[in-house]
């Protein structure tokens, strides 16, 4: 047996969109196989064909070198294939153990649930993976990272041969990611073949044995990890040379255009002071949950600040609610695009003009089709949003193009302060670079740019100045010239290391 799972010349179309073109892919027993590609490259479609959610148009699937047909998820499960999707498939009100054995709950001789047996087996399963979670705890009460691990345990509760993980680290901290990697390596050593899908190249290097790159529905190539470099992979993914992922052209910043003094959001999140100069990209770095979402929303008046003052272009800025924020030229690109950004069933055009409708059509509010079309067209062109028509549903665009549309939403409204929370989450490398360039350009044009990021390479790559958040407070201000990963990380965890201070690292 040379491969456990192989796909040969797979084609799949949805309507006129040819999503997979002659894709071939093979998975060897006991390997971790990385799968990368921009959003819309076809990764999920390929996985869904293997998982039995979609049926291929043409091509062949092989299991242990024998041709197989996978028509339903049950077929895939029967072969020992397990897929863990980005969205968790856990019943939040049930316990960890119940979730692990859902659909397969152990029973006693009377047909009732055998709680003792179930909890013991769940504990053993988790312990074998080196995970220690109280199996009687409800899923809603454990952390996201633990939920991720429970999801894996659940997948492995039956006879698993192939484990496919789609962006499993998206919501995890660095430590949690390391832990996950150890567990994944342990599974590999037990002979389980693993497909690992992630945008983060560093994770591929840390974990994968081989990497397959998809681009525009085609398999561009498969490399041994020892033959791969950042440059090679990026080039394969975007199909062009990328000298630099972070194309900053830093210039002497101008005058202060936005200023915040002692902002207070609640009892925990306070003492937030910062300023933004013309031409600068200012970034807030902190661990997840350091108060990022709350600060963004409080600046926009949702709910309004409890204390502190803000100045925009020298004038005091008071924002009582989101409508005022909109009228005063404040824009917010949310951290969770699907939850809080996209109107998925609306066309691209309507998504772009959404925040500007009042400005465009006044109080009477009669929409002029031509005006709306022209505004959307202008931004689609300027931002290079790729779409078949601007009436195309935004849900059908790639993550990068969706994110550009979210930025266009605010640009079409004469923006003065643009807050971007995780601006490149779920965005492919090519679009990332374009978004960074756009932010720089906006900064030069005098838009105050405030970025919240969780990713150190991004923070170091695009910022002029960095404010570090820890537990709801600004702990430090670091100019880019003095910043490196260690310093930023030390500040970001300062309050966890030293009670009430950061003397050591200042």
């Amino acid at each position: 047996m040379t491969t456990i799972l192989a796909a040969k010349n797979i084609n799949k179309s949805f309507g006129t969109a040819h999503v997979l073109k002659d894709v071939s892919f093979d998975l060897r027993p006991g390997e971790i196989h990385g799968l990368i590609g921009e959003n819309g490259a076809g990764k999920s479609t390929l996985m869904k064909i293997i998982g039995g959610d979609y049926f291929l148009d043409s091509g062949e699937l092989f299991y242990e070198d024998q041709p197989v047909s996978i028509n339903t998820p049950a077929d895939s499960l029967a072969l020992g294939i397990r897929i863990i999707y980005q969205e968790f498939n856990l019943a939040r009100s049930l316990t960890v153990a119940e979730n692990i054995f859902l659909g397969n709950i152990p029973r006693d001789k009377n047909g009732f649930v055998d709680w003792k047996e179930m909890n013991q087996r769940a504990e053993k399963l988790l312990a074998d993976m080196g995970i220690f979670v109280d199996v009687k705890e409800k899923v809603s009460d454990i952390s996201v990272a633990e939920q991720q691990l429970v999801e894996i345990a659940k997948a492995l509760s039956g006879e698993a041969r192939v484990l496919i993980m789609d962006e499993p680290t998206a919501a995890l901290s660095d430590q949690e990611t390391d832990k996950l990697f150890d567990i994944v390596r342990g599974l590999r050593d037990r002979g389980i073949a693993i497909v690992f899908i992630t945008h983060r190249l560093s994770e591929q290097f840390a974990l994968s044995d081989r990497i397959t790159v998809l681009r525009d529905g085609e398999a561009v190539g498969t490399l041994d990890i020892k033959d791969a470099t950042d440059d090679i992979l990026v080039k394969m993914m975007v199909g062009r040379e990328l000298a630099d992922l972070y194309p900053r052209n830093r210039m002497e910043p101008g005058e202060i255009i936005f200023e915040a003094n002692d902002l207070q959001v609640d009892d925990r999140i306070k003492n937030i002071s910062f300023n933004i100069r013309k031409g600068e990209i200012v970034t807030f770095f902190g661990l997840m949950g350091a108060g990022q979402d709350e600060i963004c929303k409080a600046i926009l008046g949702d709910p309004p600040l409890k204390g502190g003052t803000m100045k925009l272009h020298g004038k005091e800025l008071k924002v009582a609610n989101l409508r005022q924020a909109n009228r005063k030229g404040l824009g917010y690109v949310t951290s969770d695009r699907r939850e809080e950004g996209l109107i998925p069933v609306m066309p691209l055009q309507g998504n772009i003009t959404l925040a500007a409708m009042r400005k465009l059509f006044g109080k009477a509010g009669l929409i002029k089709k031509k005006t709306e079309y022209d505004v959307a067209e202008k931004w689609i062109e300027q931002l290079g949003i790729r779409c078949s028509t601007q009436l195309q549903q935004i849900a059908l665009l790639s993550g990068g193009n969706q994110q550009k549309a979210m930025i266009a939403r605010w640009l079409s409204n004469d923006i003065k302060l643009l807050i971007l929370n995780l601006p490149t989450r779920g965005v492919d490398v090519g679009a990332k670079v374009e978004i960074y360039k756009l932010l720089e350009q906006l900064a030069y044009q005098g838009v105050a740019i405030l970025v919240f990021s969780l990713e150190l390479p991004e923070v170091l790559g695009i910022s002029d100045r960095i404010y570090v958040l820890c537990e709801g407070e600004v702990i430090a201000e670091v100019p880019i010239a003095e910043a490196d990963q260690d310093i930023l990380m030390k500040h970001a965890v300062a309050k966890f290391l030293h009670f009430g201070g950061n003397e050591d690292v200042a």
Partner: protein, 321 residues
């Protein structure tokens, strides 16, 4: 995922989409031909007028129900509101001798108020529209019975019955109002920023709020419009039937939802259109009318309507796969 938010223009991307978008039109044409061949009376112009009068009350309300559903709302109190209109008129004008226009104005005012209160409760307490309007449905129905002591009243005052029984030339006023309702609500939903805000709120309420849309206001206005259209429909109903009955139209709310869903507006919110509902309404009208002409027992009309709805939502579900 092929619902159009710009209702009139259909965006086609595959043969299956084509089929599902035009399936209803094909159903309509098929029914039309079938009844035209089977019954000599079907193509008579007066028959069409009768058919539209028969659907006018539910049709008027279904326009507002459409935008409610697009905005992820749902109003099942409309039948009770409509029934209360006749009872208000009976109480004020017939029993207490007030002028007819007081009866009309008060009933419209009450319709607006009930809708507004629905909206306020839903928004301020962040409650499910189904449950709130279910409660309101019974509150209003009970009040309707109280107002007339549970008795039906004959309404013969031609001022009160004008909207339901008068004619402009050959065309009954009720049909004019029906057509106007569709035109006005369609205009609001496609040509105004408010209409766009309905689609945005229904599509993703969090995103709409963060984009600066007052989604609470949108919801309150939606339910107020629904109350208003129910009031108009109720007044038309009094005119058509010549009676004020507190028990009228217990199935109206579900009929409006049937027309909306049959047209292809989705329960998920954010998509759909008013013309689609017109199509749904006409299909229901033709089935009822045609079956009556063929002397089929009326009970079968109920079954046919239900079967058609099941077919339509299954089609919708397969399209959204």
């Amino acid at each position: 995922m092929s619902h159009k938010f710009d209702g009139a223009r259909l965006h086609l991307s595959s043969p299956r989409d084509f089929f599902s978008n035009y399936a209803l039109v094909l159903v309509l044409v098929g029914l039309f031909i079938f009844f035209a061949v089977s019954s000599p009376y079907f193509l008579n112009p007066q028959n069409f007028i009768n058919m539209f009068i028969a659907v006018s009350v539910v049709g008027i309300m279904s326009t507002a129900q459409t935008i409610c559903l697009i905005g992820r709302g749902l109003d099942i109190s409309v039948g009770s509101i409509a029934a209360m209109m006749g009872c208000i008129q009976a109480n004020l004008v017939l029993v207490n001798g007030m002028p007819w226009f007081v009866g009309i104005l008060v009933s419209i005012g009450v319709g607006l108020l009930v809708g507004f209160v629905n909206g306020i409760i839903i928004v301020k307490f962040n409650l499910n529209p189904f449950i709130v309007t279910l409660g309101m449905m019974n509150v209003v129905r009970g009040l309707a019975f109280v107002m007339v002591d549970g008795m039906a009243h004959f309404v013969s005052d031609s001022n009160l019955t004008f909207l339901g029984s008068a004619r402009l030339g050959a065309i009954p006023v009720s049909i004019v109002i029906l057509a106007l309702s569709f035109v006005v609500i369609h205009f609001i939903s496609t040509k105004t920023v408010f209409g766009r805000n309905i689609y945005a709120s229904g599509g993703n309420v969090k995103a709409a709020r963060l984009a600066g849309i007052n989604t609470s206001k949108v919801a309150i206005i939606l339910f107020t419009i629904s109350g208003f259209m129910a009031a108009i429909a109720g007044i038309v109903a009094v005119g058509i039937g010549g009676t004020a009955m507190p028990s009228m139209g217990e199935h109206f709310a579900l009929d409006t939802i049937t027309a909306v869903l049959l047209g292809g507006t989705s329960l998920a919110g954010g998509s759909g259109s008013v013309p689609r509902t017109a199509l749904g309404m006409v299909i229901i009208g033709i089935i009822n009318n045609g079956m009556a002409l063929l002397n089929v027992q009326t009970f079968w009309q109920i079954t046919a309507k239900g079967a058609l709805l099941l077919g339509a939502i299954m089609l919708d579900a397969s399209r959204n796969k």
